[in-house]
């Protein structure tokens, strides 16, 4: 069992296996994402409450979904970094944090644009929006700390501590923001109670969520590969790999 574990942690092994999977991830992800988007844009029925503006959901929900689960994945990788000092885990955190930042931004942006026709305003201090904004700050902090520490190893471990402290805080932040919202602001605006979605709506949504997951997988792989190449350039296998690609 430990052998598999060590194999999993080896950058060389990861490089080989990810190169084999990446085309599938890319093609599958892009196709699913486009299929979900086109289906959602053109073929899904109009929502009887929000009209056509609801079609933003087919990109908003995947972005928000990914933004949150990327942080959870980073936290799991952070535990692996701190406990087993596995190189791949800290490369994962480093590679994926900017992706999380961009997706969180996208979730906020699409949410704001969706809010304008639905609630009549770009931004409200709604509990969900606020906790998303805080998530954006958390990602920003992780990236800033990683950039500030020059030594790769201690940067990875410091970032891991920060990510874990953040993940302990996330439920508290979520809870407190919801509590604050009900205290300070009567719910004038609220996402309309979701009617039980018909299949023509949730199937494209599912497709785009899956598609974005696959695209994220591809992004994580290629960014980790970049990280591996730049950190392991002195090893022989990287040299052989790079020189082989040339001929």
């Amino acid at each position: 069992m430990w052998q598999i574990f060590h194999k999993l942690g080896s950058p060389k092994w990861f490089f080989g296996i990810s190169t084999r999977f990446m085309p599938w991830l890319l093609v599958g992800g892009v196709l699913l994402l486009l299929a979900g988007a086109i289906w959602g844009l053109a073929f899904a029925p109009k929502d009887y409450l929000q009209g056509n503006s609801y079609r933003i959901i087919f990109i908003h929900v995947p972005a928000a979904f990914l933004a949150q689960s990327i942080y959870i994945m980073m936290a799991s990788a952070a535990i692996v970094t701190l406990v087993w000092r596995m190189k791949l885990a800290d490369m994962f955190v480093k590679a994926v944090a900017p992706v999380g930042l961009v997706l969180t931004f996208l979730a906020l942006f699409t949410g704001a644009v969706w809010g304008k026709p639905t609630w009549g305003t770009w931004w409200i201090w709604d509990a969900r929006l606020t906790s998303m904004l805080i998530l954006l700050f958390l990602y920003g902090g992780v990236i800033a700390l990683d950039r500030a520490i020059t030594d790769d190893k201690s940067a990875a471990r410091a970032v891991a501590v920060l990510v874990l402290v953040g993940v302990v805080n996330i439920p508290i932040i979520k809870y407190s923001v919801e509590w604050w919202n009900t205290l300070h602001q009567p719910a004038t605006f609220k996402l309309t109670e979701k009617p039980s979605m018909p299949a023509e709506m949730w199937v494209p949504l599912l497709l785009s969520v899956l598609g974005l997951y696959l695209v994220f997988g591809w992004l994580a792989c290629i960014r980790m590969q970049t990280e591996i190449l730049s950190r392991e350039q002195r090893t022989r296998w990287v040299k052989e790999l790079v020189m082989k690609g040339k001929s």
Partner: protein, 78 residues
């Protein structure tokens, strides 16, 4: 198709600008991130290769020198 015509599809009952702006920003940012990551990998590969070629050349120059000569030899320390 949920729309009667293409112009209705573009207009989306007046919500068009919002919906299309969202989709545009989403896909453009996603594409930028994907292309940017791919290019970053390419440039790292490129810089690695240049490093290796530079090393190879250096060692070739060093070995092609005659074993004994009166010419000044620059011995590199690394």
């Amino acid at each position: 198709m949920a729309f009667d015509s293409f112009s209705a599809f573009i207009a989306m009952d007046g919500h068009g600008p919002y919906v299309w702006a969202c989709y545009a920003v989403f896909f453009v940012l996603l594409a930028v991130m994907m292309i940017g990551s791919a290019m970053a990998k390419k440039s790292v590969v490129e810089s690695c290769r240049r490093g290796y070629e530079f090393q190879a050349e250096k060692s070739k120059v060093a070995t092609s020198k005659p074993s004994a000569s009166f010419a000044r030899v620059n011995v590199s320390q690394d």
